[in-house]
Symmetry: C2
Subunit: 346 residues, 2 copies
């Protein structure tokens, strides 16, 4: 151990990926710790959240958010500990939720930081089931999808950070929950641990037939995280008046799909025949109106043990690029977080 002042390691966007991101698209830098201005706190990153939206931010294609600039620190939600404070509102040792991106340290104003109550759950849960992904599941299923008792709710990426919570809320609300996941181990977990009524492996050759058999009463709500094959298998199952809550299209995030067939006519024909809807949503729109409800309900459910939550923890900031690449391939099993600082306390 040295006595030198620590450096801030940070991962910046080196170039915009073409197709799937590779290690060459990122660059690890070491820079001096930032100076602390009055009213700011110095935050040490404990956990970094890895989420599909990050792929979109690496591109400069039009999106709902600004792209990350070349040579800028990659964006991301973080759980951090206050290391030094020039603010009266936070003390050294406090743990907060912040958006510091892929780096060890940041000096930030306390505005926009949310203090985390570590007595409720592990602090990293604020990056997932008690944070953005849990809120996405809640709003997408209940508000966008308008799920109600007795509905069949179909969920793609059924064991993912968002999907795993969607299925469980659906069951709490008295729905039939059917999952789509990439792998038999994930499907088994979906049924045996998360409580899905059925879960189908989209790598199976007869995936579409299996899915139809698992939805004998059709699909009332389709919670879409993926696009591609899961979407095309779900479309023929939509009931009259079905709602597709369009949360993500991870299968298509890396660029134009290779498919030689235009599937848009098939999708549009089904929406027309079934008077069904597709509604895109972005969770940042819903904090003002629904976050308090979510915090109340989800805290209660987690406390009562009604919601299972699985993290896929990657060790070390330097491995964040690989964590994102794996997430985009579907290698993860649960919510991906990078443990940036490994201590006994966290």
């Amino acid at each position: 151990m040295t006595t030198e002042a620590p450096l801030n390691r940070r991962i910046v966007l080196a170039q915009r990926p073409i197709g799937s991101p590779t290690a060459a698209d990122f660059r690890l830098e070491e820079v001096p710790l930032p100076e602390l201005a009055d009213g700011q706190v110095l935050l040490r990153t404990l956990y970094l959240s890895i989420d599909p939206y990050m792929r979109a931010r690496m591109s400069d294609a039009p999106s709902y958010a600004q792209p990350v600039a070349i040579d800028a620190v990659m964006v991301g939600a973080t759980v951090c500990r206050v290391e030094a404070s020039r603010s009266s509102s936070l003390a050294v040792g406090d743990v907060v939720l912040s958006m510091n991106g892929w780096q060890d340290y940041a000096a930030v104003s306390t505005k926009g930081l949310m203090k985390i109550d570590a007595s409720l759950a592990p602090p990293s849960y604020s990056l997932g089931v008690l944070g953005m992904t849990g809120f996405t599941a809640y709003v997408g299923l209940l508000d966008i999808g308008q799920a109600k008792e007795g509905d069949t709710v179909l969920v793609s990426a059924a064991t993912g950070a968002v999907g795993g919570t969607v299925g469980q809320i659906a069951k709490l609300k008295g729905c039939r929950a059917v999952g789509i996941a990439g792998g038999d181990d994930k499907c088994e977990y979906a049924v045996n641990t998360l409580g899905y009524d059925a879960c189908i492996n989209h790598y199976d050759e007869d995936f579409a037939e299996q899915l139809a058999a698992a939805c004998p009463n059709g699909v009332d709500v389709y919670f879409e995280n993926v696009g591609g094959n899961p979407l095309m298998a779900a479309i023929p199952l939509l009931n009259v008046g079905a709602r597709v809550a369009l949360c993500g299209i991870i299968a298509w995030l890396n660029g134009p799909a290779p498919g030689p067939i235009d599937t848009a006519p098939q999708i549009m024909r089904a929406l027309l025949n079934k008077r069904a809807s597709v509604q895109g949503f972005v969770i940042t729109d819903h904090y003002a109106t629904r976050h308090a409800d979510f915090r109340r309900d989800m805290s209660q459910w987690v406390k009562e043990g009604k919601i299972h939550y699985r993290e896929d923890v990657i060790e070390g900031l330097e491995r964040a690029p690989f964590a994102l690449m794996g997430l985009l391939r579907g290698d993860n099993f649960g919510k991906v977080v990078v443990r940036v600082e490994k201590t006994e306390a966290t």
Copy 2:
């Protein structure tokens, strides 16, 4: 002129079309006039409505309605005159709206017939602006599209039976109305007669660029009748929270699109980024709740000369197949009706 009893000419579905329908898919038959049972009326068809949905009914692919059976009379809305009556509720000479299909005569129960008030407008208007297509425009724009003052409303098939009315209601409601049509003559009519603020010819090479220029504030409501190129040009223009009222996909009715590129990812990405929605609708769902409102508003607008309405009249029942084939190609200019009986009275 002979004194023989007239025969009933009728056009039946001879075979299911592959791709675009051809004359060989239809067969003209002559059969004796039907016998009249107690409570029935004998109806003489004056006008037959030709509509895009008929193409879907010729196929046995899943749809929101049953297909026409092989050798059965083609389906369709008709304006008819009562020729004989064994019912107390209708008298010889009354003019009614019925669903008698592609034939000269039918003996039907009076249930489901709607008597037409010929003092309000020509009776054939009940097949269009005062009937199903007008009601489709009304519900699609106001309920499904949720158009409100100041919105930019984009309409494909802008001079068609439905689209021509959508644009005019949009203007009555204080929206900017932009049309897409297939031909300079139609675009000129859209702007100069129907009152669209702009209308772009989708056959122009720089169609997408022209459309973007005509929608400087983006698109809040897209009333979709077509699919294909118009849809793909509209998608990038959708504003945050935009609504796509999905009424029809005439470009795709004849079967799988030839496109070598899968456009679904582009559509879904836009819906996600813009938190936009696509809502399919079928007008038959809305009679119970909204038809009275429509009748009240549209009758008033037509009486006040606020709604222009153009019919594309084809003479003779035997030409109904050609009328439908032309409609599917976009040859028509306005609402297609077949004049089945040519008399001074009609």
